[in-house]
Subunit: 284 residues, 2 copies
């Protein structure tokens, strides 16, 4: 682990005075080649900067957020780097891996799989919590302060990572997160496939369950569009609201009238999230 990881540059674009860069590297946790993107604000040329992790949703790669969220402008102003991992292992060809949009490739769900044939590669929890952070810390001028956010499946990922790792992330936020995956179709399909039939193994990856267990007192900041097509069946923010109220867990849940599940919704409110994270990341 003292060896420096090799990063193969894919592309580099100047953006708002900083740089959007994409890299390929060999992941040990996932046993495959992975790609990721980083936005380095202009401040990173002269100082170490804090880092926001962005976890994307179903079907996404590292590219969706960087291209569509309009986040670079505010990150450049605030001096925050952003890293976008991919959403699943790639380049493997497991049986059925590419057959549905909500399981397998593009749908890693930020868990460590325990079931065949997934357990050899589908370890996105470890990849996002441990391996990729170690890689980016070796290669970029980061100051060690981290926050985390994400959308939909990635909002779920951000919430569970923050709740399971108290004190690690200075702040957490999410857009339209899957807050209770053990109780919705997307989550149940993914958890059954990656973690097996015993729901007892699922609760460690469920934000509502983690809040109920008192895993952390990390405040949660969430935006949810009221016209989101997945609101009632998959996202169920009222469940998180209820469990946070019951357990006195700090939650800011904003319901945004008229907004759907798209990146237009994220772009509209990403500035609020970046300023929220900056407040925590820059605090002495």
């Amino acid at each position: 682990m003292t060896m420096t990881e090799n990063l193969e540059p894919i592309s580099s674009n100047k953006s708002f005075g900083g740089w959007h860069k994409r890299y390929r590297h060999r992941s040990r946790a996932l046993d495959c080649e992975m790609e990721f993107a980083i936005y380095l604000p202009p401040q990173a040329e002269t100082e170490r900067v804090p880092l926001l992790w962005w976890l994307s949703g179903l079907t996404c790669t590292d590219e969706n957020f960087m291209q569509k969220a309009g986040a670079h402008r505010v990150a450049a102003e605030l001096g925050i780097a952003i890293v976008c991992p991919d959403t699943s292992p790639r380049g493997t060809d497991l049986p059925g891996e590419h057959e549905s949009y909500d399981f397998g490739s593009g749908a890693g769900f930020y868990v460590n799989a325990t079931q065949e044939p997934w357990k050899k590669h589908y370890r996105m929890y470890d990849y996002v919590a441990e391996e990729l952070p170690s890689v980016v810390r070796q290669h970029f001028p980061l100051n060690g302060r981290e926050a985390i956010s994400g959308h939909s499946m990635g909002g779920h990922g951000a919430l569970i990572l923050a709740l399971r790792r108290p004190g690690h992330y200075r702040s957490v936020s999410a857009f339209s997160p899957i807050v209770n995956p053990t109780q919705c179709p997307w989550g149940r399909k993914a958890f059954r496939g990656y973690l097996g039939d015993d729901p007892g193994a699922w609760t460690q990856y469920d934000a509502c369950e983690l809040v109920a267990k008192g895993a952390s007192s990390q405040p949660l900041f969430i935006d949810q569009g009221e016209a989101d097509q997945f609101l009632e069946e998959q996202l169920k923010p009222e469940r998180l609201e209820a469990v946070c109220e019951e357990h006195d867990h700090p939650l800011t849940l904003r319901r945004q009238p008229g907004y759907d599940h798209s990146y237009f919704f994220i772009a509209t409110f990403i500035e609020d999230h970046l300023r929220y994270h900056a407040e925590h990341l820059h605090k002495q």
Copy 2:
């Protein structure tokens, strides 16, 4: 022409308090079904608003700019609608139409073709100058004031439309435009195919030639990335600079160090362009 055009809604997303909407319609000019997108700022719910035309580059559709430029935020603030047409006829299957990225589908070059087999459909000049404006004026609360901008092939389109139609657009700007298509590989290939072998028929679609002819005194505002991979072979901004100087044509050409041809470049400077257009669009 008094008949109201039918627009078939494709999608609608709330964005920065306004609406991003996509439509399908039958184009008479192009003799095919076409799609386009409009961003309506929040002000359009209570008043008629001015309109910015955005013309995209090679390989694009109406979607690239709307998703990647980060323009909605500033358009919402300034009360400007934006329409993005597609970049070529669609749904036709002419011989060789889909074989290269720089000719045929996705590469209409904003000209009226005169050559077989293109002349029946490839009339993007008329579509963007006449037909689509008439369609959007019928359906949306626009106040008749228009500006135009675009990128690369679309920057070429914006410049020639503005130069050929003095007084029509209150302002024109472009990102990395093809300013002298009669003298670069992209332009020569397209013009030969659509307009035939006689370069005399090409000059009406060449910004440098139009400036030299004194077609209009419309000031031109252009941003060009200095790390643009197409700068030397295709874009040649120094040619426009020279012809504008020679003919005393007002030109603001900003060379942006480090920026390439991508949407990250556009996103970085779109705010400047929108504020420039707003100044002209809102002037009494």
